[in-house]
Symmetry: C2
Subunit: 305 residues, 2 copies
């Protein structure tokens, strides 16, 4: 009956935060944080507040900060940093979808959120909904989280609501004989599948045939699928949590495994931090870029001019 101390082992912290055991041990020596206690066997055990701080640090690192400048900082400092980095986003005016949606989330009304999104979709049309509402909304939710204004589970509820609405819209939209044939997925380290759904919606709306593999497909399997399904384009999505340095080699390897005629497009927040695309691939940091890429594909593949 005694409460099992909520201290976590190093392995559990790795799972919770996404920081590898090696990194956790190194930081301890280099920056003096985390500073886990030891159990009776001399093994590290991390108190919950340190785990939370680690989560916050991870989040800040995902936005481009470096360990040396944040790992040793106090929690209050970190929260201030998190709050200061939304300056670039245009401030959301009252009554906008951002504030409405965040409100519904905080008032614990997922069903209401779903309805609000659906109404908005019908009012704006799918393309505008994805580009003008969902994109800023995603940012707003992410930032609200990093400022501690909403909980992780509320982010999950949001994702589910959006996914439900989008899948519904997409259901009747996909034309099996549409062109180009587009394969969409993410690589194994990227669990976030909202991006490919949004792109799929935009492209299908323009008459492309979108084949989604869902998230987390091994690179080799992406190539197999592309071959078997004879697709014209492969779209990969990399969210902000994906380590940017792993993107170019991954794209290069995929490029090598695919025939030259098959295009490779990489989208998502992490691609915005890349200076340039690896040879034979194309970056789509924003949704507009996806439509531009589609238009360009059409121009160069139209037999008649």
């Amino acid at each position: 009956m005694s409460t099992p101390a909520p201290y976590l082992s190093i392995g559990a912290v790795e799972r919770e935060t996404g920081l590898s055991k090696d990194v956790l041990r190194k930081w301890e020596g280099r920056y003096g944080f985390p500073r886990p206690l030891r159990d009776e066997f001399g093994e590290r055990i991390y108190p919950p507040d340190q785990v939370n701080r680690l989560r916050l640090i991870k989040r800040l690192m995902d936005t481009g900060m470096r360990p040396s400048s944040i790992v040793a900082r106090e929690e209050a400092d970190l929260l201030a940093l998190a709050g200061n980095r939304h300056v670039s986003t245009p401030a959301a005016q009252d009554g906008s979808i951002e504030t409405t949606a965040l409100d519904l989330l905080r008032r614990h009304d997922p069903e209401g959120l779903r309805q609000a999104l659906h109404r908005l979709l019908l009012r704006q049309g799918l393309a505008a909904f994805v580009q003008d509402s969902l994109t800023p909304l995603n940012h707003a939710v992410g930032e609200a989280w990093s400022r501690g204004e909403i909980e992780i589970y509320e982010e999950h509820l949001y994702t589910e609501a959006v996914q439900g609405v989008l899948r519904n819209a997409l259901a009747g939209l996909n034309d099996r004989h549409g062109r180009p044939r587009v394969l969409l997925t993410t690589l194994p380290e990227e669990p976030h599948g909202l991006g490919i759904l949004m792109v799929a919606a935009l492209l299908a709306l323009e008459g492309a045939y979108c084949l989604s593999l869902g998230p987390q497909t091994p690179l080799e399997e992406v190539a197999n699928a592309a071959r078997a399904q004879a697709v014209d384009v492969v779209v990969l999505s990399f969210s902000i949590i994906y380590p940017p340095r792993r993107i170019p080699p991954a794209l290069a390897e995929l490029r090598q495994r695919l025939e030259a005629g098959v295009e490779i497009w990489a989208g998502g927040a992490a691609t915005a931090r890349l200076s340039r695309a690896p040879a034979g691939t194309r970056l789509l940091p924003t949704m507009e870029d996806a439509l531009a890429a589609l238009a360009e594909w059409r121009r160069s593949h139209d037999a008649r001019t």
Copy 2:
């Protein structure tokens, strides 16, 4: 232009197979496999065939085999083992949904698969569809994979198709004022969300209000969500890939974080390998158990008898 050798580093193998670096190094010493080459810096590099064999081994371990009995075995042996373990499944007769669906997958017709599933849903009704078609179909797909008859990406296509059909059916079904209020999700190590969708469909059909958080919610957040949404039941799903030994402690901790009135149900293939449920929780190895649990909850919560 030189082809970057497709050898993988130990970290890459960890990501691809789900076997930790520690385990990979230990197996090397204990069982003589894997036997990676070394690059110019003395670091392990794994050839693709060894990675494939590791994937196969992982799959067999997920079904209950132990390392000492399989890690050192030849690939042919392993494939034979994989092929022999579907004896318990009643053989699928020709023309059944199993053979039809697998056929469509192998013929690379995801759109056809989706239609077939949708037709089946309409013909059988949602409950029978989930219990009598989807459940055996999931098994069949999993086993076909482990026998090497279908590729991973085909499994992904299957999952997407099922998810599309189920979400569609679920869209209009959920009654915000239904009872009990049920929260569904998986823990962070469990990416497989099909199970919660299937359960949600069954329960919503019976008039429950199903709140899905999607997959991979941290335990603490599950508790937060349950409190904020005032749910009556929390359902967690553990697929075959989830290490069974981690289930009881996780359930126990959740039990501790939730009020006594909130029930905890654990479903999925991994729960079938548990001898008994931790105190204050309930195991649902099959879909029927979910319905039984719902009926029981209703019986004990009905004011009048």
